[in-house]
């Protein structure tokens, strides 16, 4: 199974990197130990969990003359960066979106990456991991509307909403992979993986 962790902010001093550095080994371990009767063949292969750096993708602001819904092959995108992003997303079995909430909504850089593609999202399993002073649940709800309603992706019911300490949001402290606030989310992550495996068996 190939999993891509897409971080939703390009702030150099953000909390996303710390959350991703906790998530990556944690997700790899849970996926390796999780198996279901009908997925014995895939569970013998080690899961591949990579991170996708939105900054490195270097996508321009969406200015497509042709709507992505009308594009069915990566070669038809006008920008090379979009062609690469299209192939990358298509190669993933699961996308984990790790994103801050900005002003009760999703960050622009994340929505921009989402909007550049269309068919690549269809039926793609997506796990939402949001963070903010209250966990970012409003951004999660708006993203679910975009991904499920707008793009027909398969967004898991289970979401991780990570409430940060005040000094992580407005001060100098940042999330690190050993932050104790992440511990309770490990159980939720296990539930999300179970939901994912059940979905794949349906």
């Amino acid at each position: 199974m190939t999993v891509g962790i897409l971080t939703g902010s390009v702030r150099p001093s953000g909390n996303g990197a710390g959350i991703a550095s906790w998530l990556q080994p944690c997700l790899r371990r849970i996926l390796s130990s999780s198996s279901s009767p009908t997925t014995s063949s895939t569970s013998t292969t080690a899961p591949v969990v990579t991170t996708i750096d939105l900054g490195a993708l270097a996508l321009p602001f969406f200015d497509g003359d042709t709507l992505p819904a009308q594009i069915t092959t990566p070669d038809a995108y006008a920008h090379d960066a979009v062609r690469q992003w299209s192939r990358r997303l298509a190669s993933l079995d699961v996308v984990v979106i790790v994103t801050p909430q900005f002003n009760w909504g999703y960050p622009a850089v994340l929505k921009n990456a989402i909007d550049w593609l269309y068919h690549e999202w269809r039926a793609k399993p997506v796990l939402l991991v949001t963070y903010g002073s209250r966990g970012g649940g409003k951004a999660a709800a708006q993203l679910r509307q975009v991904l499920e309603g707008g793009l027909k992706a398969r967004v898991l019911r289970t979401t991780l909403e990570i409430a940060l300490d005040k000094d992580m949001v407005a001060g100098q402290r940042r999330v690190t992979s050993d932050w104790e606030g992440l511990e309770p989310h490990e159980t939720v992550l296990e539930e999300a993986v179970q939901e994912l495996l059940q979905q794949q068996n349906m």
Copy 2:
């Protein structure tokens, strides 16, 4: 009264330009002819209605090391483009956001411009004008959540939701200022201006 029309897409072939070119003289005319007992002083001055080109603003993707909520003077923004945008927004009495709906949500380039600023939005009257195959009501609802909840702007209850013909969304035809589909929205625009003037008198 100074009104800025902010278009939410930088697609060169989008429908926003046509809607803005209808909106600008229409809004100027309604504002000029509208008066209320307590606004006699402002109503004698001709309203100034300008358009703000998001492409020309040339804002980078939000990467602020300091949260905009912690910035109280334009000079404190790191990018010159953001400093200019801050001064421009602060100078407006009213903002009209004219935006397409992308995948049931707001466009990235618009959210990016919104997220760069914070105090500039507080109590700012905002009129939402959305368009899409069904009028863009979902984008309007998400934007209201961001602007009212996240930024404490004063979003008018009245919104214009312009349903485009199919060939304007997915084909070659584009909205022009004389498109008959815009006519019914003139009445709604008059209602929005009445709501705005009542709000200002409260």
